[in-house]
């Protein structure tokens, strides 16, 4: 210390406190975003790359990594009739669950978009299915659609069914209807609320003007409401696509899981792709991780293509709806100002799609 004091040095020295403060200022921004990037690197990006490695090897759950086999796993998967069957099942369930869901959600949203009494109560009750555990829904629907359930005996009564056992567990299409109905049950109210939020942001003077111009309620819905909520509609359809194609819970427990069940039916009537992947890697008699990883890659690719096609299609259809160019003001106002809106996310994720 004495030496320090004796030696001559510049008067305006940067003190420790200040130096720390400068580092704090420079490094903190990076430090604060690092948890996300670290976690994503380990559990998001790395598995994506590592998936290729697994898919290129003979890899089993019990014995681990085996020989390098090149693209054999991919070829094997593409030659499996079961893979294609599961893909058909998935798309069929997706359509049967998605299309009615969208129309019902629009209808419910339009009905909620009125001057209702006890508004919050209705909105909350529409969300009930969203918090019911999907596996529980699946078990209950399985019971209702089953032999001793509600539907089948009534259909027998009406003479529409002659077989004693439930066709919902035999017939491929009917099993898709049953599982699709679970999807409708779970997501309709949720999407209705998202659409409702967009509908409420439509400036009321547009409706006023339409009324004055003599447009009926229906005409107003199709010519004012739908074009105004377009970005949200695209968002709903897009998330529906990605979520809907990855369907697993509902199909897995439709026949109750437990012993022997859970693999998608005796003839794989309702085996979805995710269920197929699960069965390949972790099913009772299988541990083909290499092939399952190949399924993962192929399916990711398919989802991406379907999402893009879907996006392109929705954009075209909904812009065809809007016959006349609307003032930009309308579209901008259709977004809630204080919180991030679905359309922000659409834009965001689409930015990702484009690159």
């Amino acid at each position: 210390m004495a030496h320090d004091l004796a030696s001559p040095r510049p008067v305006r020295r940067v003190g420790w406190g200040q130096r720390i403060s400068r580092w704090d200022f420079k490094l903190s921004p990076y430090l604060y975003i690092s948890p996300f990037f670290l976690l994503f690197a380990v559990f998001g990006a790395f598995p994506l790359v590592f998936n290729v490695v697994v898919a290129l090897h003979d890899w089993h759950r019990r014995t681990g990594m085996g020989d390098f086999v090149g693209l054999d796993n991919f070829a094997w998967v593409l030659q499996q009739p079961l893979f294609w069957r599961s893909l058909e099942n998935t798309i069929s369930i997706f359509l049967l669950g998605g299309v009615p869901q969208l129309f019902l959600a629009l209808l419910i949203a339009a009905i909620l978009d009125q001057n209702l009494r006890a508004r919050t109560f209705w909105r909350m009750s529409v969300l009930i299915p969203f918090v019911v555990m999907p596996v529980a829904t699946s078990m209950i629907f399985g019971q209702v659609f089953g032999q001793f359930g509600i539907l089948v005996p009534n259909l027998q009564e009406l003479g529409l069914l002659t077989d004693y056992s439930s066709p919902f567990f035999q017939d491929r299409f009917l099993s898709h209807v049953a599982i699709g109905s679970m999807v409708v049950f779970r997501w309709t109210g949720y999407n209705a609320l998202i659409l409702l939020a967009a509908m409420q942001a439509v400036p009321r003077d547009l409706y006023e003007a339409a009324t004055v111009d003599g447009a009926s309620r229906f005409r107003q819905f199709f010519s004012v409401t739908i074009p105004s909520i377009r970005p949200t509609l695209i968002f709903v359809i897009l998330t529906m696509t990605i979520g809907g194609l990855e369907i697993f819970d509902e199909a897995r427990l439709f026949d109750g899981g437990g012993t022997g069940g859970g693999s998608g039916g005796a003839d794989n009537q309702w085996t979805t792709v995710m269920l197929y992947l699960f069965n390949l890697g972790f099913g009772q008699w299988q541990d083909r991780l290499g092939q399952a990883a190949a399924v993962g890659w192929i399916f990711a690719f398919i989802i991406l293509i379907i999402s893009l096609a879907n996006f392109w299609l929705t954009r075209r259809i909904s812009s065809a709806d809007a016959a006349q160019p609307r003032p930009r003001r309308v579209r901008r106002r259709a977004q809630t100002p204080d919180l991030p809106t679905p359309s922000d996310i659409t834009d965001a994720s689409l930015e990702g799609v484009r690159r």
Partner: protein, 308 residues
């Protein structure tokens, strides 16, 4: 709205229409959306509610019945009101030695609480940085975060499982907690919110007063982010609580609530009453959450929350 006003603003034909409507007793009101809807609307909504509660109601009714009652109730629910059998069945589900629903409940709670607390904290931290701090590469890094949103997550299951195997985390709750500690959606959510809700002036004032960065975050940004944080926590909690695919890949003997459901069929086999009572027990806790935090949940969905 007078017809003279309509004639001036919208033209004579519109005014003629308005007069005709008024003659029929349905005048053009100034604000048509303020009209109260009729009973048909409420009837429709009542049907929607009936459908929404039906599955859980059905589970409770089946859970209140014996197997013979269920097989005899052809084409109908076995009963319309719950009975004491439901409590007895609950007791039997709790008492079984094959699995413990209490342990599953504890596991689910531990995982969901940890994951949502950590998601909120790290998302708010990153959101603060992205929205209010200036640093090189900010824009690019933020776009990277958004780009990761479109990766179909479940597709990486197999490599993730292999990693968990290497870590020795198979059948450990760590496998459920650690990968979910923070996600891109949370970061995006908090960034967007803080961008609007936190004025620059406040951050600068804290700096001028000599507060460290973290202090600024903790005392200024975090309180400002509270509404968005609560919503994020709620949705993360529900998503974690209900998740089934990944737990069924990576867990063996340790159960979470959704993993109990396939066990029910295995343990109680064809005793449908018991199975359904179990299903009801497993699904009920989140209903409590809906009742307690329903308002917030509705606001969150309407603000554009994404599926879990």
């Amino acid at each position: 709205m007078s017809t003279a006003f309509i004639e001036n603003t919208a033209g004579p034909s519109a005014a003629r229409y308005a007069r005709k409507r008024a003659a029929r007793g349905r005048p053009v009101s100034a604000n048509p959306s303020s009209r109260r809807p009729g009973w048909v609307t409420y009837a429709f909504l009542a049907v929607v509610i009936a459908v929404s509660v039906f599955p859980l109601y059905a589970a409770a009714m089946y859970g209140s019945s014996t197997t013979t009652e269920i097989t005899r109730a052809v084409g109908n629910l076995p009963r319309w009101l719950p009975t004491l059998t439901l409590w007895e069945n609950f007791g039997e589900v709790f008492a079984t030695e094959q699995f413990s629903i209490w342990v599953a409940f504890g596991n689910s709670l531990l995982v969901a609480v940890t994951v949502s607390a950590s998601t909120v904290f790290f998302s708010a931290l990153a959101g603060f940085s992205f929205s209010k701090l200036r640093f090189r590469g900010r824009q690019g890094l933020y776009v990277t975060v958004l780009a990761t949103l479109i990766i179909p997550a479940q597709v990486g299951t197999i490599p993730l499982f292999v990693m968990m195997n290497e870590f020795g985390w198979v059948d450990s709750l760590l496998a459920l907690i650690v990968p979910g500690l923070v996600g891109a959606f949370g970061v995006f959510w908090m960034t967007q919110y803080l961008k609007e809700a936190l004025p620059y002036e406040l951050v600068e004032a804290a700096r001028v007063d000599g507060a460290s960065m973290f202090r600024t975050f903790w005392s200024i940004a975090l309180p400002a982010a509270r509404p968005a944080a609560a919503t994020l926590a709620l949705f993360t909690f529900i998503g974690s609580w209900n998740s089934f695919f990944w737990p069924s890949v990576v867990m063996r003997s340790q159960l979470t609530m959704p993993l109990v459901v396939p066990q029910l069929r295995g343990v109680f086999t064809s005793d449908t009453g018991l199975v359904m009572a179990g299903v009801f027990l497993v699904a009920a806790p989140l209903l409590v959450v809906l009742v307690l935090a329903g308002r917030q949940l509705v606001a969150g969905v309407m603000a554009g929350a994404v599926k879990g």
